[in-house]
Symmetry: C2
Amino acid sequence: MATVSSAALAERGGTTAAQVRKDLSYLGSFGKRGLGYSVPELTQVLRRVLGLDSTWRVALVGAGRIGTALFEYEPFRKRGFAITTVVDSDPAKVGSRMGNVVVRGDDEMEQALRESGTELVILAVPAPVAQNVADRAVAAGVKAILNFAPAQLRVPVDVTLGNVSMLLELEGLSYALARGKKG
Amino acid sequence: MATVSSAALAERGGTTAAQVRKDLSYLGSFGKRGLGYSVPELTQVLRRVLGLDSTWRVALVGAGRIGTALFEYEPFRKRGFAITTVVDSDPAKVGSRMGNVVVRGDDEMEQALRESGTELVILAVPAPVAQNVADRAVAAGVKAILNFAPAQLRVPVDVTLGNVSMLLELEGLSYALARGKKG
């Protein structure tokens, strides 16, 4: 049986073996002293805790360059996040295909989200329209939003918001470089 | 003169006016009670602090779907982060043009980074090769890396690492959805 030690997990995660053991102890007692963790068992437990054993209905709103790249982003697919609904406001894109998915128009967004029972929206629209699109998605029943627009969104408490702030990260590096130059 | 109040800034940033005044007080005393902040002055101070008044030499390593989307990402360009070097390992891409930039081969990476005096690398390569590419970039003098690969990278203490973890964010939302279903 394939096993992995807390030390090996710590090495991969950039932490300590003690921290790994402590963290995993919250999920149940399934490690064995001297033997480590069963890889299949650990995988199963982690997948369950993270909700990765469920299939979430994911929609992409905004099929521009970033959106298109995300649609085809291999790590998303490998983890089971398949995008089954795509919405864009560009009439030239509406009705075209991305993989097996037909792009829907912005005016059909609420209908498309409801029909597909979408729970999670990947928001890849320009910053000035992001809040409005998020509000409409929430009104259509979406419970989680992954926002790629460089905008600070507000969502109701029962909706989970994740932000991928490429611009903020880049500005953070710029700040570090500027300080490094001075120091 | 255009001014902005701490209350208006707080509204935009999702914080309180008191917090805005406190934070900005660290940068000098340039707000005026009852008048607020001069927008040009505040912009200039923030740009200087964030290093946005400098021009950083930025290279993109990995010209796949994500990399290409980032190359053309409007918010980067608007803030002055122009990518002037592109490296890819695909021989079919080497020598082709992205905008005004000629794509260099992976075997020329160190040379391309040194020639251009690159300070900041945007790393958009597959996870399994990300650490190796990062090590080589650091050896070539790069001082900041923005990593898009779903991999935990290690860099020397004098190098700044930023991570854009699209997969981690999506898994975080999956976790929240799974908990919401149970609750």
